[in-house]
């Protein structure tokens, strides 16, 4: 067992790597009533072409399968796993992202019964043609629900515009058509390949005794048999630097047009501290250029180009990275011009000062400290970082060491000729 104490944060993280390859982390939090426990596989919607466990050739599976598998994990021969969690007073859930599938519960009692339920249901798949067919109607409604959400359509539309080949451009849940092709056999194939303990992380945070929990998980895993760990072979197509589409538009039943500017990262082949530094440098740069204290924000807000819906974000994973900046706006053309002029100006006359960096550095350190109040944030963010060999608890020291040169390097990687796209959604009556 490793025990890592973070003095400034006053947190202690416990870690153990089990024989079957599973990484187990526990972070006790004094004063908390609940324990939040996640069990996550490094498997998301982008992992669509891979060598199945025991196989030799690459296969490509139907779009939306990681998410479909997540749904189907909850159904067992003797019923629905939610029933068991409810009986033991746990709120359970799961989510699938581009790169992860996470199963979780939160409870204020019966911690070990619930942990056992979590470990068992994720490690005992049960798929039949009948249960797979039944799920198609439910997921079709989920997809349809998202189809009506303009924010969602715009975000994924922007990603689709940016990437020509990388599977990040495919909807996480697939489409109503692609999920029709999914079979129980596919689910087993994906399960066997990606749900090996060596491809997973277990994280418990909150009201928990670390030694007890580590021991409990270890003993549980010893009672189960697993094949030897084997690295997962994934394949990704080559992705050019330029954005696949310069712009696209969509007409939906919205009250106001929506504009989003997307910009693509050139270099994403990194991991560990380099990646953390790049991510934080990009976040800080965007804060300086577009944050609520920026010149841009004041001008755009005063001129009515943006409203409360304005937001920006940066995402980086091995293989793909992008920033998205957007708002509801009555003047999409003017807003597009202003965002581009801010980016062009930073590109041509880089002028971010140490004073600006200091202020945003403080803001980001505070933001991180505040986030440590949230067990959900700690578990999810830690796991996300862990899969990219980063350490969540390096955030403060890396922020403390950031220089304006690092911001410039991050910006240069994010903003270059032909690496941008515009996605606009107009109210549908304007299409007539």
């Amino acid at each position: 067992m490793n025990k890592i104490h973070f003095d400034q944060l006053q947190e202690t993280l416990y870690h153990q790597k089990l024989e079957n390859g599973l990484n187990v982390y526990v972070l006790p939090k004094e004063g908390f009533s609940k324990t939040y426990v996640t069990f996550t596989t490094k498997y998301g919607s982008v992992d669509r072409t891979f060598v199945p466990r025991g196989g030799k050739e690459l296969v490509t599976v139907p779009d939306g399968i990681a998410h479909f598998l997540e749904h189907k994990m909850f159904e067992k021969e003797d019923g629905d796993v939610f029933q068991q969690f409810s009986e033991n007073a746990a709120a359970a859930n799961a989510f699938t992202s581009f790169t992860r599938t996470s199963y979780l519960f939160s409870s204020t009692s019966e911690l070990y019964e619930n942990t056992k339920t979590l470990l068992d249901f994720v490690q005992q798949p049960y798929f039949t043609e009948k249960t797979v067919e039944k799920e198609k109607g439910i997921i079709a409604q989920e997809i349809t629900m998202y189809d009506d959400q303009a924010d969602w359509r715009q975000y994924f539309g922007t990603i689709e515009n940016l990437f020509e080949n990388h599977p990040v451009r495919i909807d996480i849940a697939g489409t109503v058509e692609t999920i029709q092709d999914i079979t129980a056999e596919h689910l087993y194939e994906c399960y066997e390949t990606f749900y090996h303990p060596s491809n997973m992380v277990f994280f418990a945070v909150g009201n928990v005794n670390p030694e007890e929990m580590l021991k409990f998980v270890e003993q549980d895993q010893q009672t189960k048999s697993f094949e030897a760990p084997e690295p997962v072979v994934r394949s990704f197509p080559d992705e050019p630097d330029h954005a696949a589409e310069k712009r696209s538009e969509l007409y939906m039943d919205v009250s106001k047009p929506k504009l989003m500017v997307g910009t693509k990262c050139r270099n994403t082949d990194m991991s560990g501290k380099d990646m953390l530094m790049r991510e934080l440098a990009s976040d800080v740069t965007l804060d300086i250029l577009f944050g609520r204290s920026s010149e841009f924000f004041t001008q755009a807000y005063n001129e009515g180009l943006i409203d409360e819906s304005f937001s920006y974000e940066f995402n980086l994973e091995k293989g793909f990275g992008f920033a998205a900046i957007g708002s509801d706006t009555e003047k999409p053309e003017e807003l597009e011009k202003l965002i581009k002029s801010v980016l062009d100006d930073a590109n041509n006359n880089w002028s971010i000062t140490d004073e600006q960096l200091e202020r945003i550095r403080k803001k980001r350190i505070g933001l991180f400290m505040r986030a440590l109040n949230s067990p959900e944030y700690i578990a999810n963010q830690f796991t996300h970082y862990n899969f990219n060999e980063m350490n969540l608890f390096d955030v403060v020291p890396v922020l403390e060491g950031l220089t304006t040169d690092q911001l410039k390097a991050a910006f240069d990687d994010l903003y270059y000729e032909d690496g941008q796209t515009i996605m606009t959604i107009y109210p549908s009556e304007q299409s007539k």
């Binding site: 400034q8 944060l9 006053q10 908390f32 009533s33 609940k34 629905d80 939610f82 029933q83 409810s86 009986e87 033991n88 007073a89 746990a90 709120a91 359970a92 939160s106 409870s107 204020t108 009692s109 039944k134 799920e135 109607g137 439910i138 079709a140 409604q141 349809t144 629900m145 189809d147 009506d148 303009a150 924010d151 039943d253 919205v254 009250s255 944050g291 609520r292 204290s293 920026s294 924000f297 004041t298 807000y301 005063n302 009515g304 409203d307 409360e308 509801d328 202020r359 403080k362 803001k363 350190i365 505070g366 933001l367 400290m369 505040r370 440590l372 109040n373 949230s374 067990p375 549908s428």
Partner: protein, 429 residues
């Protein structure tokens, strides 16, 4: 849980010293009667106060000051509860203990910034700046309009307007576009004066700070003028309308999914002794993944991704919301009706009761794991019991029987079935 001190009649300070969080939080809540005009004016005021202050006369200066305080949070918000309109200022900063060499006492400075924004706002010639007021009016109008983009929320709002037109249950906490448009810089100053002088006020401070010391100087930190502050009288907002037959309304928009919603009225509201029984009913019916609606509409029949119920106790209403293929409306509606009938017939298992009790208990206990959760839950339940604790509430749920739930179900009156769905063959160029 919170320690209460009365600063004057109608102004109370609630403090809680705890090391659970890495932050210190302060919330100031102003309560006034809920009307369309009040809601609109106070929401615009919330935005205007958050924009700037006499000391930080522009949005940029104020935001930069917050960034310097290690990204301290400061925002305003409005909400409603029964026939009350609540204006909330919320602020939070990192406890200095976790910062390496902070040059300033962070929470103290934040508290000063917040109280300055409240007591020394950014005025010109005794009124608010016209440009700021006009811009924030537009922001609030945009916010009111944006509900249209979220079809799930929009369908529920429409349904409420159809059954509780002009009543607190269907009023938006942001008011209406018409009421916002009527606001002037002078009227907003009057709204501000009235709020400070006539509202009842609850102040919360929570975190690892010297709460005794803060309480000792609270009169100076929060110098509210002595005035007549009357709390909003509780009206019997839960009495249901005369409904001979339930309405059945279908509306269309340019969308793909059908939103099938229902509303039932109940004479049992938040202050009613049977309130815990209704909470249990809602849990058995549709609050969770073990509930009847989830199991029967989603899991057994694959009709929906979501089908759930929620109990709006301050308005004596129970809603059901689902997202379906509109062609399955009749089938889904019948299935939902069957679940209500099952409750009325006492078709409720011990397991369902056990699971619901377990998850309600988990939910209330978990809500205390965030600073905001502690403030909001206490602020609500203190209306029933100043010495509220989650254990007391859980004890009440534990006493609820199958027969109680059955009895509650018999008191439900269906008022409306509402379907919002797509137009056929929408074609765009």
């Amino acid at each position: 849980m919170f320690h209460k001190s009365e600063l004057q009649s109608g102004v109370n300070l609630y403090t809680r010293q705890t090391a659970q969080f890495k932050t210190v939080s302060v919330a100031i809540k102003f309560t006034a009667p809920l009307t369309e005009e009040n809601a609109a004016a106070r929401t615009v005021l919330a935005n205007v106060l958050e924009d700037s202050s006499a000391n930080y006369p522009t949005r940029t200066k104020l935001r930069q000051a917050l960034e310097e305080l290690y990204g301290a949070v400061y925002y305003t918000d409005t909400s409603k509860r029964g026939n009350e309109h609540i204006f909330t200022i919320y602020a939070e900063s990192v406890n200095e203990e976790y910062l390496r060499n902070p040059e300033v006492p962070v929470f103290e400075q934040l508290l000063t910034l917040v109280t300055e924004s409240l007591f020394k706002p950014n005025l010109k010639d005794g009124v608010f700046d016209e440009a700021v007021v006009e811009r924030e009016k537009q922001t609030v109008i945009d916010r009111i309009g944006s509900i249209y983009n979220d079809k799930t929320r929009y369908a529920n709002k429409r349904m409420l307007e159809l059954i509780r037109s002009g009543k607190p249950a269907s009023l938006s906490a942001s008011g209406t576009e018409k009421a916002v448009s009527a606001i002037t810089k002078e009227s907003l100053k009057a709204t501000y004066d009235k709020m400070l002088n006539e509202d009842t006020i609850d102040i919360y401070i929570l975190g690892d700070v010297d709460t005794d010391q803060l309480t000792g100087r609270a009169q100076t930190v929060f110098p509210f003028t002595k005035g007549t502050r009357k709390s909003v009288p509780v009206t019997a907002s839960t009495t249901s309308e005369e409904v001979p037959t339930a309405k059945h309304i279908r509306e269309k928009q340019d969308m793909k999914q059908g939103k099938l919603n229902m509303a039932f009225s109940t004479p049992v509201g938040f202050r009613h002794p049977d309130y815990p029984k209704m909470q249990m009913l809602n849990g058995v019916l549709g609050g969770f993944a073990h509930s009847k609606l989830f199991i029967n509409v989603r899991e057994k029949e694959s009709l929906a991704y979501y089908c759930s119920s929620s109990y709006s106790s301050h308005y004596g209403l129970l809603y059901i919301m689902s997202g379906i293929d509109a062609e399955q409306e009749e089938k889904t509606a019948a299935l939902i009706d069957q679940q209500i009938e099952a409750l009325r017939n006492g078709d409720i298992s011990d397991l369902e009761i056990r699971q619901t009790l377990a998850l309600l208990s988990n939910s209330i206990r978990s809500s205390f794991d965030s600073a905001k959760g502690q403030i909001e839950i206490y602020d609500q339940y203190k209306l029933l019991d100043e010495n509220f604790s989650s254990d007391k509430l859980i004890e009440k749920w534990e006493r609820v029987t199958k027969e109680d739930i059955q009895e509650m179900a018999k008191l439900l009156t269906k008022e409306i079935t509402y379907l919002l769905s797509g137009r056929e063959a929408m074609v765009h160029e």
